[in-house]
């Protein structure tokens, strides 16, 4: 497949508006704003393309937009770009923003026009200092060329974009946590309903879309819904997609491919990660960031990497962050590491999550330290089973439970071995891997 989202990565001065425009950039903004396309036309096109949210949920962006009230009763509509990219294993939005910021800005202009937004924000995680500097420069350039600000290209449509930096909190990637954070509060998710489309930022109708999703919007308007929906396995799992692969592979990185790329192709293909380091055997894979259920080699055998393909095998594509573990990986140590993350990042407002993540981490730590008890293995599943499926305000707890509820049954022997022998089955602990 030709590269679409990452096409301009590697172009000299790819961040500048001059090279962007020379490559055909902002043509869609001109086409839409001066060519008579109505906001409804844009929305319909995006809906028709079935651009499913690339942040992790896989929900259709066009459908999400259509939840906005027809009459906002004088309230403004806000577009928030979710650039909080914090799901462990995910680094695709960083690539896009650092290399091709105008692609995102163009997508945001088109989306804002479709949903009649006057003020849009890019909520970017605090660690992306460089990304924020690049975006701020790009936003300034777009203002200078008249693509942002009052009366864009003389069309009567006006838009301001503000880059807003987070300050270190995974939960701000959850859309209502992001809204709270933008409002200058602790990023604690809200109870839904009301959904943001009805009452979001500053109690006004709000749409939150991921960076890659908004980039897709630009390409849908460039080339049409039909073009978009023909890329991929079927029209429900369509479009170009950025896959992040990391862990014990020869060539980790971001790879763009059609939605539905065969899982094994990404891990072993010459054009992709080129197999496991040292020719070792595959033990387990996380398909969609740390919140996704861990899969075995047998489960990925014929699995297409798209929303429905991975879901059909009991996990999720999530943010398309594929994390590969080889035969030397200690599953107990890996799962403990993931629970360290979630216990650190739980916002603390729901008891099952705050206490559950903390206790799971502590039990895993004692197993890892050779102080585990046989009954701890089932205790892990039992605790995780009381945290998920609607027990909490947001799905962080579900994300923390998924690695346990998948790894414990799938690698039960390994957990038990760890308890009985007070060491790892694979013979190599995490620390032994240093500088390997």
């Amino acid at each position: 497949m030709e590269k679409v989202l990452s096409r301009r990565v590697g172009t000299p001065n790819s961040q500048s508006i001059d090279t962007y425009v020379a490559d055909g950039g902002y043509a869609s903004v001109k086409k839409v704003l001066t060519g008579g396309m109505t906001p409804e036309n844009v929305l319909e096109e995006v809906k028709k393309a079935n651009v499913r949210g690339r942040g992790g949920a896989g929900f259709s962006a066009g459908v999400k937009w259509s939840f906005l009230p027809k009459d906002t009763k004088g309230k403004p509509v806000y577009l928030l770009c979710n650039a909080d990219e914090s799901e462990p294993g995910t680094f695709k939005d960083r690539l896009v923003m650092e290399n091709d910021p105008h692609q995102l800005i163009e997508g945001m202009i088109l989306a804002s026009y479709a949903i009649k937004c006057r003020n849009a924000y890019i909520y970017i995680r605090g660690e992306f200092y460089e990304g924020a500097r690049i975006l701020n420069r790009a936003v300034d350039e777009a203002y200078a060329r008249g693509f942002l600000g009052e009366n864009v290209l003389g069309s009567g449509f006006s838009l301001d974009i503000t880059v807003h930096r987070g300050a270190g909190a995974y939960i701000c990637g959850e859309e209502t946590g992001l809204i709270e954070s933008l409002e200058g509060k602790r990023g604690q998710p809200r109870i839904k309903p009301p959904f943001p489309a009805i009452s979001g930022a500053f109690a006004a109708p709000t749409i939150v879309n991921n960076v890659e999703t908004l980039c897709c919007v630009k390409h849908v308007i460039d080339r049409g819904a039909e073009w978009f929906s023909k890329i991929g396995r079927n029209d429900k799992n369509a479009g170009p997609k950025l896959f992040c692969i990391s862990g014990r592979v020869n060539r980790p990185g971001v790879y763009e491919a059609a939605m539905g790329l065969p899982f094994k192709e990404l891990i072993y293909g010459d054009a992709y990660a080129q197999g496991i380091k040292g020719g070792r055997k595959l033990k387990a894979v996380i398909p969609g960031g740390a919140s996704a259920a861990i899969m075995t080699p047998a489960e990925i055998e014929d699995c297409p990497l798209d929303f429905d393909g991975v879901a059909a095998r009991g996990s999720m594509l999530g943010s398309a962050a594929i994390i590969v573990m080889d035969e030397d990986t200690c599953i107990v140590a890996a799962v403990r590491n993931i629970l360290k993350f979630f216990s650190h990042e739980s916002c603390g407002q729901c008891t099952p999550c705050r206490e559950g993540t903390t206790w799971l981490y502590r039990v895993l730590t004692r197993i890892e330290n050779g102080e585990g008890r046989v009954e701890d293995v089932d205790l892990l599943s039992r605790v995780a089973g009381q945290m998920n499926n609607g027990m909490t305000i947001c799905v962080l707890a579900d994300g923390a439970a998924a690695p346990i509820l998948s790894a414990v049954p799938k690698f039960r022997d390994e957990f038990l071995y760890h308890v009985e022998h007070k060491r790892c089955m694979s013979g190599r602990g995490a620390k032994a891997l240093v500088t390997a």
């Binding site: 980790p252 993931i338 240093v434 390997a436």
Partner: protein, 172 residues
């Protein structure tokens, strides 16, 4: 987010934004429908000005934005990038999340601590280095990944870390 960030240290002296900073804040406020929405950007300004955010700096932020000081403290303790006590000139942030873990990040932290003679969350006596562990910083393809202040250094191993620390030590 972290559950162990409660205490905001005192600077022992009042903090006041400069007239130039106040003008920047006024400009910033035009981008938001509420004063409170400017809290994170203004806290970032405070941290850039003083290197960390003291009790007095938090009070100054509250004063400038007309917010209850308790609200500012609540927000400040929620976000891990705000330093609630002074940090070294070089803030070493080593990622220990899953992809970096698979590349030996814990060993890297250990090596770094030994080399500097400090533990995690500690600062060297000369005030040059502070070592912290951080959660996923989106550098997973170049694991183990770390940041020093606002810059990424990746991938790192014991050797490249030693070289980096030598260079940073010479710098100041």
């Amino acid at each position: 987010m972290s559950h162990t960030r409660y205490h905001i240290e005192s600077a022992g002296e009042p903090r006041r934004f400069s007239a130039e900073a106040l003008a920047r804040i006024e400009k910033l406020l035009k981008r938001y429908p509420t004063r409170q929405a400017a809290l994170l950007p203004v806290l970032w300004m405070a941290q850039e000005t003083w290197g960390w955010i003291s009790k007095e700096a938090a009070e100054e932020v509250a004063r400038v934005l007309d917010l209850p000081p308790s609200h500012v403290d609540g927000v400040l303790t929620f976000y891990t990038m705000f330093n609630l006590k002074p940090v070294g000139k070089h803030l070493l942030q080593v990622c220990t999340s899953i992809s970096c873990h698979l590349a030996g990040a814990e060993g890297l932290v250990e090596h770094c601590g030994k080399r500097l003679g400090i533990g995690v969350e500690e600062t060297t006596k000369d005030g040059k280095f502070t070592l912290v562990e951080v959660e996923c910083i989106a550098g997973c393809d170049r694991a183990p990944s770390m940041m020093v202040n606002d810059k990424y250094y990746e991938p790192m191993d014991a050797k490249s870390l030693d070289a980096l620390l030598d260079r940073l030590a010479r710098e100041s």
